[in-house]
Symmetry: C2
């Protein structure tokens, strides 16, 4: 029996897919600049035991395994290599439990982020991490990349919301980490080690996630426009330094505003160099927004308006959420993802303008400014080899600018394959050696998502 | 040259201590039931390079190294083994930087927690984690054990406040993790792996810590007394389920209340079966406290009073903070540390009463109830071998009761040596194998704080 036939026989009928047309759809995530190989097959598993079976089979035959959620990643972390087995978690969609009293849920890796949000909303709860992809990305992918989003500035990232994990290790055993106690120091923090490990240490099949009570509605919202992008950055720095607690603080600069208006008329000011949309929730929302508005005015905002009207606020949020789609409409795009200390935002925005000017690449920036996390998006005329190469060099310049300001080459998208080279400017040899030692300890044959993540 | 003379020559004069009387003071932490060996010497280092020197020396000669902060641990994590070198970080007390704009500080391991608090208060900031030992324990020890405290219910534990680390690895190299960006997914989360690793993977020499703006004073405070401890537990469960946001929610039951009153008259109700002290900060403090009071009344509180008078609130907090000292005045004591899901507090408190009754051991319980984290304190008549053995069995019963409720054998004190056997009821063989694999990867000769932590 061939190895593939052996695996097919070990899995329920229909689980293993070898049809080349179907398999081709599982080759890559959404990182346009990163190479992707050809998988041998895709295992569309429906339970944890099937993941164990696939992993044990991979060990027997020395086959590389690429775990995959919805494939919405932006760094190539789920890209196939030739001859690999893709293990797709997309069908593990059970919400095993919602424990409303303890504010937690136990969910499988294939649950769509927004589906979890809707399920827990019925209990007056919400799941904070809300990556731009929240309507299409899976919790498993969110966990693998430690996904962020707009609400993280107040409520933390995926790692902060994770109490425990179920993980299939490279040897096919099931590891259970963490638990239901919110304070727990029993042993090493394997939970947070696996979150953000980009599938390199194990395959996350389920998680115990911490939920929060829905804030008392409605939030207070403001929008401010600025005569320059650095002025908007300075406003954010001032808001943070002032100790205000935004529940959302998002930035869009000129190119992004216009891309959104091109895509759908949202009545944003096309002439603004940059705008900030900020929100605060809770009983003191109005007071927090008043502090934020004062910071904007002092930083030189030329127009500020606030609202407690939910419809108006939703419109503003929708405009920000449309940015991703709107920018991809402008042409092939590369969504960068850098972070800087929040006092350095003005400098980073100035550096981006310099890079756009010196490279000639259009850069439209949006970002979770309250966290110092920006998404400078390169808008390309085409995907010809020379254009791609120039885009990669431009993206590298963006990362190096963030590092020069004491920042990071990735705030929430992950290193994947795209950012491996640039990461060496951030992590030194000792740090990389520790990464390799942990990888070797947990996956000595390097079968799990090899050559990515660091 | 003898190995010790060699190390003495490599370190600045006065760094290495071999005087038996002085060395004896570095044998143990404060876990009375845990054995401690006799160190060869103590290196009282003053900088990171000296830690590297000591670690390289230890590798050359195969000597076990026990890192140590202030020795205030309660699980034996810093206890010496015969022939070891104790590396004491107590003299690395520099606050290298306070970055008020970005709300962070870079501090060395030997800084006392409360000293950091006082230093950053001048900038209108605070460092949230506040273990009971905060006036005497070091940041390094707090990091090694992932220490908690009273403010964690709102602001998170030590791990949540850590942005980056400087760590000396077993091979003597310096590892730098994390950074200054609040969102950062560049590589594995080594920062959070080392926090709480109890000195088993490396020696933390410095950390970049996240600070928070001081909340607008004064907080609102309430105290409620209950006719039974489980009723107080039920009130806490209700408070959490209701979505209230306490900045502190502490429990003391009858034995603890009376120990405090014995120690110093604080006008607590000696007849109460249990009391809760709760606090909320921020602009909506009064409203949060009103919700908490309603939950207490519905759970059967027989007396509730609230205050916004800072002096009165300070008195209540001081009473709670005195509990540790007051309980040790009652006789030799063992401060247990378990956690349960917050809906199970009433059951845990009932289980503690049963254990006290069946074992005949006095158990005085205090705890960070809002986190489901209790410190049942065993008060012993003496420390005779039979008493110690009975105390260990009683402590084990406490841990097993927590596990039976879906909890943890340690919420914030760590496993150390004390809880290794009981941990096997919480972590299965696969999880323990992963711990061992990571340990072997980073410390193949098992020289760093061996045989503890898991």
């Amino acid at each position: 029996m061939s190895p593939l036939a052996e695996l097919e026989a070990e899995l329920p009928p229909g689980t293993l897919v070898t049809d080349p047309d179907v398999v081709a759809g599982y080759r890559a995530d959404r990182a346009d600049l990163v190479p992707a190989g050809h998988p041998l097959a895709v295992a569309r598993v429906t339970d944890t035991e099937q993941v164990c079976t696939a992993m044990r089979w991979a060990q027997r035959h020395g086959v590389t395994v690429i775990p995959r959620g919805a494939g919405t990643g932006l760094s190539g972390g789920a890209n196939a290599v030739d001859g690999c087995l893709v293990v797709s978690l997309e069908r593990m969609t059970a919400i095993r439990e919602i424990d409303a009293e303890n504010h937690l849920a136990v969910v499988e890796a294939g649950v769509i982020n927004a589906d979890l949000g809707r399920a827990v909303a019925e209990h007056g709860l919400f799941y904070p991490p809300d990556p731009g992809s929240f309507e299409i990305s899976t919790i498993g992918g969110n966990l693998a990349t430690n996904a962020g989003g707009m609400r993280c500035v107040k409520y933390g990232v995926t790692r902060d919301a994770t109490l425990g994990l179920e993980v299939v290790l490279a040897d096919g055993r099931v590891l259970r980490t963490g638990g239901r106690a919110v304070k727990n120091v029993a042993g090493l923090d394997l939970t947070r080690l696996f979150v953000g490990s980009e599938g390199t240490l194990g395959i996350i099949t389920a998680a115990t996630l911490r939920l929060r009570p829905a804030p008392p509605a409605p939030p207070a919202t403001f929008v401010a426009t600025f005569p320059s992008a650095p002025a908007a950055g300075a406003a954010v720095s001032a808001i943070i330094a002032a100790g205000a607690v935004p529940s959302m603080l998002e930035l869009m600069e000129h190119e992004a505003i216009n891309a959104i208006e091109d895509y759908r008329r949202m009545d944003l000011d096309r002439n603004a160099a940059a705008l900030l949309i900020g929100q605060a929730d809770g009983y003191d929302a109005a007071r927090q927004v008043a502090t934020m508005i004062r910071c904007c005015e002092e930083a030189g905002a030329d127009f500020v308006v606030d609202t407690q009207d939910p419809a108006e606020a939703d419109g503003l949020l929708q405009a920000r959420r449309l940015a991703g789609l709107a920018l991809t409409e402008q042409g092939p795009s590369v969504i960068e993802d850098v972070g800087v200390p929040r006092s350095r935002l003005a400098e980073m925005l100035a550096a981006l303008a310099d890079i756009a000017e010196s490279t000639g690449v259009r850069i439209a920036t949006v970002g979770h400014a309250g966290d110092g996390n920006l998404h400078p998006t390169l808008i390309l005329p085409d995907l010809e080899p020379a254009t791609r190469e120039h885009a990669l060099k431009t993206a590298e310049a963006v990362c190096r600018a963030a590092l020069a300001l004491g920042g990071t080459v990735t705030g929430e998208h992950g290193v994947g394959i795209l950012k491996r080279d640039w990461l060496a400017g951030q992590l030194d040899d000792t740090a990389l050696d520790v990464h390799r030692a942990i990888k070797a300890a947990l996956d000595p044959r390097q079968l799990l998502n090899p050559n990515r993540g660091w």
